[in-house]
Symmetry: C2
Subunit: 389 residues, 2 copies
């Protein structure tokens, strides 16, 4: 043991500690499953049984995924099982999947999460510094699945509606509403499943940090009906989310106001979203000042050729008027996001320079990931509906 | 065209019709996905892209799965895509997955459903004779995700709670409660996702066929805490669902009664479940006559050595007393289920012969599958809480 001196024995002790740190199953694993395991230093061990496979990899969902860029080659260990331990990951929720001889395969050991337009596996890396998105021993609201018929699409649609604790108790109390949107390739369930928006709201409420509010989460991927004309405003061909603004204004907001005890005026409605949803929040929110008075852009993409006079339906054309109209204009991003997203800060500066207040939020060391959006919601929600207090 | 006479041209026309019947994507496919496709004659075409694979199969979830026993060998067609069309399937929801060179793989084209203790793919075969489980243009209730802390397990648990249309409107109205359980390897989401219990209840309500009621769906796979003693009643080692009865009686029912506007007495509570959940319904329901007055067994397994005096906690020991205690004792099964499940009919007959009424329900031509349980709920629910009318 003494051979090689102090340095070697320290290294040996580190190796021994590492070997002993078997880690803990990710919070995303299915009952009885042991992998992926997250180690104390945030390395992650993945396993998959695939006895006949010739090559198995872990693929992280996206180039700026907090697991690292990957793909990570797995090695065959005993009994047809493949194994890899990745370098330390960034805290938060990360999408991933395997490829088995080139075919994408979800991990049979974790719950599935809809992202990247498909069912993905997910791993949750705990953050020792933050637990604001964990289920704590505080009063919990409900997440309600609400079916409604949308005239715009002529189809049944589903909204997920967070009601705060106590909603059912006092029949006379009415609530402001935050409409909160997912990113491209996700769904109305993403904010509660991946984002844990309900726990974030429960915890903020328990601290007295926010006004009690409803949170309505819908699916932003709403294509126009076949044969329908392109968006009048742009004339661009369909991208698959063109009709969402119509659904929000003509179907969703009226349904929510007629179904729930809301404060049904613009001062008590906000619209926010992440990534693609951030673009939708700015377009639909600023484009409908009769409906919304507050807008949040979580990791939105900076518009090419941003122009105060014409961008966002010209809502910011007249700074004096815009200052009165918009109660809150909030933008944020992770500090290590891609350039087109970080460029949004310049958009915020341009708006601010015109005299319209913009709140900018930096999520330190985080990329285009759910941890950024959890932090964004935690900063954004307490700023909403403050005049209502 | 006339060559070969009438018979040949009829066969040719059939082949042409078959070729033209490209089918429709299953109701379970993800947005934009085309397969599996269900044909008019209920054959199903599955596809998977796996260019490097040597053997790909469709595996039906269970030997009596309505898709057929399988596995179904897929053939490589153009561009690395594998394809198979199965024989006509039984209507309803069926679990399946692929194996790619022996490794189980979910279909990336459908939503995932938790069954067989894992995420599975699902296909929905329409039934031209029945639409009672479809979303129709009727008032819809909500399915609410409700977190609560269970003292029995010392952990946060999730109940899914169906509230009927109008629940939020009349604050004075109180509701009876049906506790409705899934089968082995499923979860609290199965009855709403696979079973469509909420649409079944919405439709029965719209027809005036049932009393408005809450439906509470929890997760029956509740293991005792590590180190906890075995069930006092049986002394058997843990199977993974031993603590569910304690959770129901000590945590779930009290939480539901204190959170929702229920009629909090035994006459207004029923407990039903399918397969493993049927066994739990009989054990926990009949074992707790102070809590429940109605029990439903959907495709339950006949107990070995059934004895009126001792089985089901001796609840049926005294037929005269049992006739007064139990408002409804309901049992049912598909007519082509396995022998141990069909043997339940003899148990029902034995109970009936003792003078205790039992309602028996046959789901014609159906096996141990969700379509049986949808039909079971449709027959069971209208019989509940009739004295409440």
């Amino acid at each position: 043991m003494a051979i090689g001196g102090v340095a070697a024995s320290v290294a040996g002790a580190e190796r021994a500690a590492e070997a002993q740190d078997a880690g803990r199953p990710s919070a995303t694993v299915l009952p009885g499953m042991e992998y992926p395991r997250v180690h104390a230093d945030r390395r992650v061990t993945f396993r998959l049984r695939a006895p006949e496979a010739r090559r198995v990899q872990v693929v992280a969902g996206g180039a700026d995924n907090g697991l690292g860029a990957g793909p990570f080659e797995m090695s065959r260990i005993e009994d047809g099982v493949w194994n890899v331990t990745t370098p330390p990951a960034v805290p938060g929720f990360h999408y991933y999947w395997f490829t088995v001889d080139g075919t994408p395969v979800v991990d049979p050991a974790t719950r599935s999460y809809f992202g990247w337009n498909k069912e993905c596996s997910g791993v949750e890396i705990p953050d020792p510094a933050h637990d604001f998105y964990e289920a704590k021993k505080v009063p919990h609201g409900e997440v309600r699945s609400r079916l409604y018929f949308a005239e715009v699409t002529q189809s049944w649609r589903r909204a997920m509606v967070y009601t705060p604790p106590g909603y059912d108790e006092d029949r006379r109390k009415r609530y402001p509403v935050l409409y909160l949107q997912h990113g491209s390739g996700e769904s109305e369930r993403s904010w509660s499943e991946q984002g844990r928006a309900n726990f974030i709201m429960d915890n903020l409420l328990a601290e007295g940090a926010i006004e009690p509010m409803l949170v309505v989460m819908e699916n932003g991927m709403v294509a126009r009906r076949p044969g329908a004309p392109p968006m009048a405003a742009t004339g661009r061909p369909a991208r698959g989310n063109e009709a969402f603004g119509d659904v929000v204004v003509k179907d969703l907001v009226p349904m929510v106001d007629s179904t729930y005890r809301t404060r049904a005026d613009r001062e008590h409605r906000a619209l926010a979203g992440l990534s693609m949803g951030a673009g939708q929040a700015l377009q639909i929110g600023l484009g409908n000042p009769a409906v919304f008075a507050a807008v949040g852009s979580f990791s939105g993409v900076a518009p090419e050729g941003f122009d105060l006079a014409t961008s966002y339906s010209g809502a910011l054309r007249d700074p004096a008027a815009a200052r009165k109209t918009w109660k809150l204009l909030w933008m944020g991003a992770g500090t290590v996001e891609p350039a087109r997203i970080l460029a949004m800060k310049k958009v915020a500066d341009t708006i601010r320079t015109s005299g319209i207040p913009v709140t900018w939020f930096d999520a330190p060391g985080l990329a285009h990931e759910w941890q950024t959006w959890r932090h964004s919601l935690k900063d954004f929600a307490p700023r909403l509906f403050r005049s209502a207090r």
